[in-house]
């Protein structure tokens, strides 16, 4: 499969994957583009791997947790307010919106861990291998992330009280 053929078929999935991991569609677009630009000259080698897409997904994660990317993402978060559907009082929707906000605010590694665990149904061992860290690190990151997400319980009543 040529690079162009791969991009034509798999780019939507990569962009969606990066959006989930980053919590930010603009960052996702930048990251996927940067990763593909880096991958293109190496494609002759990458395409010989068993699953070239896994290699690119690992590149996306590396890019998301890179120092440069963290700084620019933080600056972006400070500038941009994501929509929060306060008008919709349906309990489930409000909770989801609050949860989305909390997920976006998580540190990148924590967000990536719970995205891979809960959205992509990956086992912790596989997450550790993908992120290049230990199983214990994955579990501690997940634990911290879940502790933060439980804060949504404190958000929800305040909205219901309005």
């Amino acid at each position: 499969m040529t690079f162009e053929e791969f991009v034509a078929v798999r780019l939507p999935a990569l962009v969606r994957h990066a959006t989930v991991l980053s919590g930010d569609p603009h960052v996702a677009e930048d990251v996927v583009q940067d990763v593909l630009v880096k991958a293109q000259p190496k494609w002759t080698r990458i395409r010989t791997l068993d699953v070239p897409e896994s290699y690119l997904r690992k590149m996306i994660i590396n890019e998301l947790v890179s120092t440069r990317r963290r700084v620019t993402a933080r600056l972006r978060r400070e500038r941009v307010q994501f929509p929060f559907h306060v008008e919709d009082r349906a309990e489930q929707v409000v909770q989801r919106a609050a949860l989305v906000q909390l997920i976006r605010a998580l540190p990148p590694r924590q967000r990536i861990v719970i995205a891979l665990r809960y959205f992509e149904d990956m086992a912790d061992g596989d997450i550790a291998a993908l992120m290049g860290c230990s199983l214990a690190t994955v579990r501690s990151q997940a634990s911290r992330a879940l502790a933060r997400l439980r804060d949504v319980a404190t958000v929800e009543p305040s909205r219901e009280a309005r």
């Binding site: 959006t19 593909l36 949860l99 989305v100 809960y118």
Partner: protein, 355 residues
């Protein structure tokens, strides 16, 4: 209550915000095209291609044949000809087996052909910038200096009694090229990028260089600019005639001084497909032809009455990695450029695939 399903739903909501991949595709296509333009004249330095680990050696004795190689498509071109007749002057009389001519590039400066570059590839597939290629560049111009390949590993070689240099480019993977200048003749450069190991590529480069002989054939430049913005009008421009699978493509490109913005004009039966983002396009009519503009990307697309497609894009100044991005809000310039563009006759393509 936060449970697995709630978290999954939240991520699904985030995933639904994923941007359209078309902008990325367009940017990648523009970068690939720009890379191709840079490499097309001098296909050597820092190409970033991992040499394949399989495949037979490319070195096979080859006798000059005028029949296209079997792997190349027959394609319907036009009558050929144009406002500028360009003598090819030289050709290799030996190439690796199966290689046929795929691209002809002319650097036009002051209405003259300052340099000509010819590419041979092993089959008729479209080049993705990584396709094995043997190139011969005839002549030189200062405008090409930014593309001059460099390498610290240099040795003197004999090219039919003329001292030349064989240079291995820096970086991985390295590629060889041979540069020499017969007395009273233009400078010649042979560049090689194949899937063979470096020693084999070096041998191919030398063998091709030593086989170069005078050639009486000519090519033509059909289209020409009528008007260009001032920063682009002063610069030489590049005309590339080639093919994308079974359809012809001719490209005119020019870059302002100091690697400032770059204009690419592509003409051919199927040139819209890689770059056209329909959901961002707005209809436009130019010269009586229906088309589309994408202001955010600095793009203009037209379809002529015979179905031939034209696309124009202005790319912004190069970033730190040497590549450019879209140059927004330039459609008015693009409209004027295409209004005053002389398309010329559609090109003769009977040379594709021959030696």
């Amino acid at each position: 209550m936060i449970d697995r399903e709630a978290i999954r739903d939240a991520f699904a909501a985030i995933a639904d915000e994923a941007p359209s991949p078309q902008r990325i595709q367009a940017t990648l296509a523009a970068r690939t095209r720009q890379h191709r333009q840079r490499r097309i004249v001098l296909r050597v330095a820092g190409i970033g291609v991992a040499a394949a680990t399989v495949g037979a050696t490319g070195v096979e004795v080859w006798r000059l044949l005028q029949q296209p190689e079997a792997g190349f498509p027959a394609m319907a071109g036009g009558p050929g000809g144009g406002w500028l007749d360009v003598p090819l002057r030289y050709r290799p009389t030996w190439l690796p087996r199966g290689y046929g001519q795929a691209n002809r590039t002319v650097l036009v400066a002051d209405d003259q052909a300052a340099a000509v570059s010819l590419d041979w590839r092993p089959d008729g597939s479209a080049s993705d910038g990584l396709t094995p290629t043997v190139g011969l560049t005839i002549g030189w111009h200062d405008a090409l200096e930014p593309n001059r390949p460099t390498g610290r590993r240099t040795e003197n070689v004999d090219v039919n009694g003329v001292v030349g240099q064989l240079i291995l480019t820096d970086g991985e993977p390295s590629s060889p090229y041979v540069i020499w200048q017969p007395p009273g003749q233009p400078q010649l450069i042979v560049s090689v990028m194949t899937r063979d190991d470096l020693d084999e590529q070096r041998a191919i480069a030398l063998r091709v260089a030593r086989s170069v002989q005078p050639d009486q054939r000519h090519t033509s430049v059909g289209p020409r600019f009528g008007w260009l913005p001032a920063d682009l009008a002063a610069a030489p421009w590049m005309f590339v005639l080639g093919h994308d699978d079974a359809t012809w493509v001719q490209t005119l490109s020019t870059r302002g001084a100091n690697d400032h913005r770059q204009l690419d004009v592509s003409i051919g039966p199927d040139v819209h497909k890689d770059n056209f983002i329909r959901d961002q396009a707005q209809p436009i009519q130019v010269r009586g032809f229906d088309g589309w503009q994408v202001p955010d990307n600095g793009q203009l697309f037209l379809t002529l009455s015979d179905g031939v497609e034209v696309s124009l894009q202005l790319l912004s100044p190069a970033s730190e990695d040497g590549m450019s991005g879209p140059n927004p809000n330039t459609v008015p310039d693009l409209v004027r450029i295409v209004e005053e563009l002389d398309f010329g006759p559609w090109p003769d393509m009977t040379w594709v695939g021959i030696k």
